[in-house]
């Protein structure tokens, strides 16, 4: 106990130093964004005159009304679609134990290591043939597919941990397959489903390469894709770029802080069971 006070001081000093390193970039773009539009900034500097105008300027010039709408449309379609499909598949694999369930499960797990780059090249040309490039539908289905291995795997490992008696009891009561899933399994799986939804939302919101390749129409790009190209146009206007970045960051940070626990559970447990 005597040496602990010294140790605690060192511990907190290191923790604060690390936290400052993590937060410094945020503070610096916050300050940059609050300068007058077009201001020349060097380093961390307190604005001589505080101004929110960069946000409205960035919103207009970056076409963010359209970008945000696309991001929301895509995320709000991908999340339910991918979560429902993954849950149904996991139910078939883990509870109904369809023929070939072992091989299928292994197939999905292997899919976890395939980089997007391998898929995206041919995907573009395949979808171009059937007119699904430059469309929300193409991106939504492609994202759902890319996220599928993790979702199936996540829900499957969750369903396998449900006591078998629970399912058996429902069956004896005469519940059909779908009823077992909807009335028994889903209600007790909300934490796992929430985690999966939050992760899917994050991945969909942050997806860049896929959208960059699949969507040429500047009005229907997602916020990160639009931001990626916005940089090229306004590379020297630091306050404007900082404001634009904060606009794109804000929704995901908000979701993170609200669902902080789900985020952490999903990323750690999902990875560890693998």
């Amino acid at each position: 106990m005597r040496t602990r006070t010294g140790g605690t001081a060192v511990r907190y000093t290191l923790l604060v130093a690390l936290a400052v390193t993590v937060l410094l970039p945020f503070v610096s773009i916050m300050l940059a964004a609050l300068h007058l539009p077009g201001a020349q900034i060097s380093g961390l500097s307190i604005p001589s005159e505080w101004s929110w105008r960069n946000f409205s300027l960035a919103w207009e010039q970056g076409n963010f009304s359209n970008l945000m709408r696309s991001s929301v449309i895509i995320a709000f379609c991908v999340v339910p679609l991918a979560v429902v499909l993954a849950t149904l598949a996991a139910y078939g694999l883990a509870i109904l134990k369809v023929w070939g369930n072992r091989a299928l499960s292994v197939g999905f797990v292997l899919g976890l290591t395939i980089p997007v780059e391998l898929v995206v090249v041919a995907l573009y040309f395949n979808l171009r043939e059937v007119g699904l490039t430059n469309s929300y539908l193409g991106i939504i289905l492609a994202e759902a597919a890319l996220f599928m291995p993790f979702g199936v795997y996540w829900m499957q490992s969750h369903f396998s941990s449900v006591p078998e008696e629970l399912v058996e009891a429902a069956r004896i009561d005469g519940a059909r397959d779908l009823a077992v899933l909807v009335k028994v399994l889903v209600p007790i799986s909300w934490p796992a489903i929430t985690t999966l939804s939050v992760l899917y939302f994050m991945w969909s919101w942050n997806q860049f390469l896929l959208v960059l390749v699949m969507m040429q129409d500047p009005d229907r790009r997602t916020a990160p894709a639009g931001l990626g190209l916005f940089v090229g146009q306004y590379s020297t206007d630091i306050p404007l770029l900082a404001a634009a970045s904060l606009i794109v960051i804000a929704p995901i940070v908000l979701v993170y802080l609200l669902f902080q626990r789900s985020f952490v559970n999903g990323i750690t447990q999902g990875a560890i069971k693998g």
Binding site: L118, Y256, T268
Partner: protein, 320 residues
């Protein structure tokens, strides 16, 4: 999980259900409930398999096929044999990109694992005030879109950015520069952004592993007179072995397949010093119309990812 077919009496209905399915269950005699259910289960699995097969597996295989062709995306493709692959090893721009991505593993994977361990060491133990705050903050970079992260760091690293300001503050005016434009240091500067992003993820994995360690082990170590450092070495570290492997795998994939960050910060520059495979795949396929080479590079990248991930898993198992 072993396959345990549910038991009940066999019937003709189950037989007809099987006819529609595979013949592989010939030897088994599961009853009506089990067998029919296993057939019906396909209704549940099929939508996911269909979407996955059409939008991931098929394109992946198509990319493999394209890697043996010469194609500009418009005119008919011609066979290229192995040319696209041999080009990767002859063209310095291409193989240097692969080498660069291997360097990035140090910054995206190796250093974050070390920092993650440090963070874990600082955060575990009895609940202290503010620990949740630190955990939430350390993990934050991991949830951000990398495009926004890249823009932020471009500014931090710039000529008049925060890094140079800090260096001047401590009297190191001599070494200030535009870091991402420096021929020798750009790749390292880029890598350190990855370190900033990935350390929190590693920490979160280690923390969840450390929570499962039996607290009796710590008490025993304390009784044996082990200090905080020794406790960490002999109790915590062995306890998070599995998580270290997982962190290594995830961050290595992120390093090798990194695209977003490079695209917005350096776009491969200066003079190709920060080219990475993903960037060249994109450029070759969608800017230069050289789809064969792009595909071959994507295939090589995938092979490298799988090889390194397998190697990490193998050594993790050997080391036990």
């Amino acid at each position: 999980m072993a396959e345990v077919p549910a038991t009940s009496t066999s019937s003709s209905r189950a037989g007809s259900a099987r006819d529609g399915g595979s013949a592989s269950s010939r030897t088994r005699r599961p009853g009506l409930g089990g067998r029919a259910r296993r057939a019906r289960g396909w209704l549940y699995v099929l939508p996911a398999v269909a979407v996955y097969a059409v939008f991931a597996i098929w394109p992946a295989l198509s990319t493999l096929r394209l890697s043996f062709l010469t194609w500009d995306g418009v005119l008919p493709a011609t066979s290229a044999g192995m040319d696209n692959y041999t080009r990767i090893f002859r063209d310095p721009a291409l193989y240097e990109a692969i080498l660069n991505s291997l360097v990035l593993i140090v910054f995206f994977s190796f250093i974050p694992v070390l920092i993650g361990l440090l963070m874990t060491a600082l955060l575990i133990g009895r609940v202290r005030t503010g620990m949740t705050f630190f955990r939430v903050v350390f993990f934050l970079p991991q949830v951000l879109p990398l495009v926004a992260v890249g823009i932020t760091w471009r500014w931090l690293y710039s000529d008049r950015g925060v890094l140079n300001q800090l260096l001047e503050l401590v009297g190191l005016d001599g070494i200030t520069r535009a870091w991402l434009g420096d021929y020798h240091l750009a790749l390292i500067a880029l890598g350190l952004i990855g370190t900033w992003c990935m350390s929190g993820l590693c920490m979160m994995l280690f923390l969840s592993g450390a929570q499962k360690i039996d607290t009796a082990l710590y008490e025993a170590a304390t009784l044996d007179g082990a200090g905080a450092v020794q406790q960490f070495r002999h109790v915590t570290l062995p306890g998070v072995r599995k998580e270290i492997t997982i962190a290594g795998v995830i961050t290595t994939i992120a390093a090798l397949a990194s695209f977003d960050l490079v695209f917005v910060t350096t776009n491969g520059g200066p003079a190709g010093q920060t080219n990475v495979p993903a960037l060249l795949v994109y450029r070759l396929a969608f800017n230069e119309g050289n789809i064969g080479s792009a595909s071959a590079l994507a295939v090589v990248l995938t092979v490298i990812v799988i090889a390194i991930v397998s190697a990490i898993r193998f050594f993790a198992r050997e080391g036990k």
